[in-house]
């Protein structure tokens, strides 16, 4: 049982890391701010979600697992808000994309 949990954790965390790498590649290679924001928010949030799901079997207790999920939800909230604000600032004629 422990072996299955560990395997699941490894697979999910590696998948999450892959999405993080994809998001970073997007940040480095995409041409302008809007596409970079898209890469960062979509890929990084999915990556974080996979990491959190992968770590859930390692937590001892339901409460600790719920705390992890709460952290993921708050990161979702914060990154969604910040990406909207950045996009709005750029569209209003802020720093050139």
């Amino acid at each position: 049982m422990k072996a299955i949990a560990d395997l699941f954790t490894i697979v999910a965390v590696v998948a999450g890391a892959f999405f993080f790498i994809a998001g970073t590649v997007g940040l480095l290679r995409f041409p302008d701010t809007f596409t970079r924001l898209h890469a960062l928010t979509k890929a990084d949030n999915l990556g974080l979600g996979l990491v959190v799901v992968g770590l859930l079997p390692q937590m001892d207790g339901v409460l600790a697992g719920l705390k992890l999920i709460l952290v993921w939800l708050m990161v979702l909230l914060a990154s969604a808000t910040v990406s909207q604000l950045i996009a709005r600032a750029v569209r209003r004629g802020g720093p050139k994309p």
């Binding site: 708050m74 909230l77 914060a78 808000t81 604000l85 709005r88």
Partner: protein, 314 residues
């Protein structure tokens, strides 16, 4: 495996430190400084100092990062003249050599410590029962070295007065920050309505759990200050004029309670900030509960900056 992780962490830290130094644009340097603080948090966790890691994340990376970003944006117009006035290559190389020598000396000092290193941890472990708290960090901060904590709180207050003194004469006692122009129903307003309830619970919880687990009032106060700053930034509430009586009372209340309890200790327990027998835990709780709002208001006003607008009457 942990060795590889630690080496990677140290390598990243050094790379970010070098980036912060050589980045041309101040904003780019600050953008490297904030992840440097977060990686330092991971380094503290590797050293199993969880309290310090939380304080580093909250104040070192978070608060200082915001302060530096605000400073960088204010200094944007002076970037070019400042770059033109940089000292010559020789001075910079000399500075680099001296800095590296100091770093090497500090590193040697740490690495050449006798094994086991001299420490007061056993003495703390022996006497921790008298304080009534379970977390040795809290016991040291609030009981054995309470004087340092009191002085920290007062230093923050003095720093705030220093920042206020940067206000132009005609705005003395006015409101910090620009007038709120953000749409209170926009996306930032939404975040400022959803996040503060969660943030307040988290901040007070961090204070409460600091008695027996990693936590404490500084980290909790930073979370509360961040929530108030979010509300101010979103335009849901204006920054208070700094000559309002409630602001002054909120700022001075925490340290005043701390000093009063210290004087009580001088009378009853024989030493300033000594706690009477058996009353240690309740007194510590009272001090922390009084310091939390004071620290939160202090930190939020530190970030709001010097008054830049009229206060609008008493």
């Amino acid at each position: 495996m942990t060795e590889a992780l630690t080496l990677a962490l140290v390598g990243l830290l050094m790379a970010l430190a070098v980036w912060t130094l050589v980045a041309r644009d101040t904003f780019a340097a600050v953008a490297g400084f904030v992840p440097y603080g977060l990686l330092l948090t991971l380094a503290w966790l590797q050293l199993r100092a969880v309290d310090v890691a939380m304080t580093e994340a909250a104040i070192g990376a978070g608060l200082t990062g915001v302060l530096l970003i605000a400073a960088a944006s204010r200094l944007r117009s002076t970037e070019a003249p400042a770059w033109a006035e940089r000292p010559g290559v020789l001075t910079r190389v000399l500075a680099a050599i001296v800095s590296a020598a100091v770093a090497a000396a500090v590193g040697a000092g740490v690495l050449l410590l006798p094994d086991p290193a001299p420490t007061l941890a056993p003495a703390v472990a022996q006497n921790i029962a008298s304080t009534g708290v379970g977390n040795p960090i809290t016991a040291v901060l609030m009981s054995f070295r309470a004087m340092d904590t009191l002085l920290e709180a007062i230093v923050l207050l003095l720093g705030l007065v220093g920042i206020w003194s940067l206000a132009p004469d005609r705005f003395w006692g006015g409101r910090p920050g620009p007038a709120p122009t953000e749409d209170p129903n926009g996306i930032l307003g939404y975040l400022a309505r959803v996040l503060p309830p969660i943030g307040i619970v988290v901040g007070v919880y961090i204070l409460w759990v600091g008695a027996d687990h990693p936590g404490g009032k500084f980290q909790g106060a930073t979370v509360l200050a961040a929530m108030w700053l979010l509300v101010m930034l979103a335009g849901l509430s204006d920054a208070p004029a700094v000559d309002r009586r409630w602001v002054r009372i909120a700022l001075a209340g925490g340290p005043a309670v701390f000093i009063a309890i210290g004087l009580l200790g001088a009378g009853v327990a024989g030493a300033f900030l000594g706690y009477p027998e058996g009353l240690a835990k309740p007194l510590i709780v009272v001090v922390e509960a009084a310091l939390l709002p004071s620290l939160a208001v202090t930190l939020a006003l530190l970030l709001a900056g010097p008054p830049r607008r009229e206060g609008g009457g008493k």
